[in-house]
């Protein structure tokens, strides 16, 4: 069991090492002639105005919050799905209730027009 994950560990090391090796290789052979004009922020030729990190719509944040809720829900589904055959009818009722409650939340967000773009 653990040896499977030893492979994943080694694989992860290789996976993250490959881009690093590539970048080092390209660092060795590429030209390095920087100047201030080259390193300016790209904005279709315009000089950039003001700070980049300006206030953004808070609504993006709402999607992230709803996502977290449903992500946790989806996580609860997986062990249930794997063991479903052994759990039986009881598990079906349980999960139906669980999903119904969360669907209520989704409906609430829907009715409150939180899913629309303001």
């Amino acid at each position: 069991m653990l040896s499977q994950y030893a492979f994943i560990g080694i694989f992860a090391v290789i996976a993250f090492a490959l881009p690093v090796i590539g970048l080092v290789l390209s660092w060795l052979i590429r030209p390095k002639k920087s100047n201030p004009a080259k390193t300016t922020t790209y904005e279709c030729g315009m000089e950039t105005i003001g700070d980049t990190w300006v206030q953004f719509k808070a609504q993006y944040y709402l999607y992230a919050l709803i996502f977290v809720v449903f992500d946790v829900e989806a996580i609860f589904v997986f062990p249930w799905a794997v063991a479903y055959n052994k759990l039986g009818l009881y598990a079906l009722v349980e999960m139906a209730l669980f999903i119904a409650i969360l669907l209520g939340g989704l409906l609430y967000a829907w009715r409150k027009k939180a899913l629309e773009w303001h």
Binding site: M1, Q59, P79, E94, G104
Partner: protein, 173 residues
């Protein structure tokens, strides 16, 4: 054992990085590293399901949320509210004071639990953990702990309603 020490040290270093970084984004990224090493530690105790959950929920959702907030509010360096060169007591504002007390309380509680043996976990239960602990978790979560499981959905529902209420745009009548 050797791997455990390595991961534990990385986790500790990352945790220190979280609280010492001046940029909130760095803090969030150190936290990500911390979560990743925690996932590795979960795998080492044969709790692969928890490791995946750790990555999906914490790294994939919570850290994203953190980074998101940081991006929303700017993401530059934090100004120390009390000023960097003031005395320790002067910088101890009330939120920090509460955080300090709560943190120490948690530490004491966990320490007591470990020392008195109340926090001992099931060890070497190969049968339970053989399936990456998924079957083991499912076997108890959806039978013995069905009520907490349903309550969790209520909790999630409350969180969702709160989020919707918070993100409501100001009313234009």
């Amino acid at each position: 054992m050797f791997l455990f020490v390595v991961f534990a040290l990385i986790a500790l270093a990352a945790a220190v990085g979280v609280i010492t970084s001046r940029k909130p984004v760095y803090s969030a990224l150190f936290l990500l590293l911390n979560f990743a090493t925690l996932a590795a530690l979960y795998i080492m105790v044969e709790a692969q399901f928890l490791a995946a959950v750790q990555i999906i929920v914490y790294a994939g959702a919570v850290i994203v949320l953190f980074l998101f907030v940081v991006m929303l509010i700017g993401g530059g360096e934090l100004d120390d509210i009390g000023g960097r060169n003031k005395k320790f007591l002067a910088r101890l504002t009330w939120p920090r004071g509460i955080a300090l007390v709560l943190g120490l309380g948690l530490l004491v509680a966990v320490g007591y639990g470990l020392l008195s043996g109340q926090l001992m976990t099931a060890t070497n239960d190969a049968a339970a953990f053989g399936q990456g602990s998924v079957q083991a978790i499912a076997a108890v979560l959806y039978t013995d702990y069905a009520l907490p499981f349903e309550l969790a959905s209520i909790l999630l529902l409350v969180g969702m309603i709160g989020a919707v209420a918070l993100a409501q745009p100001p009313k234009k009548d």
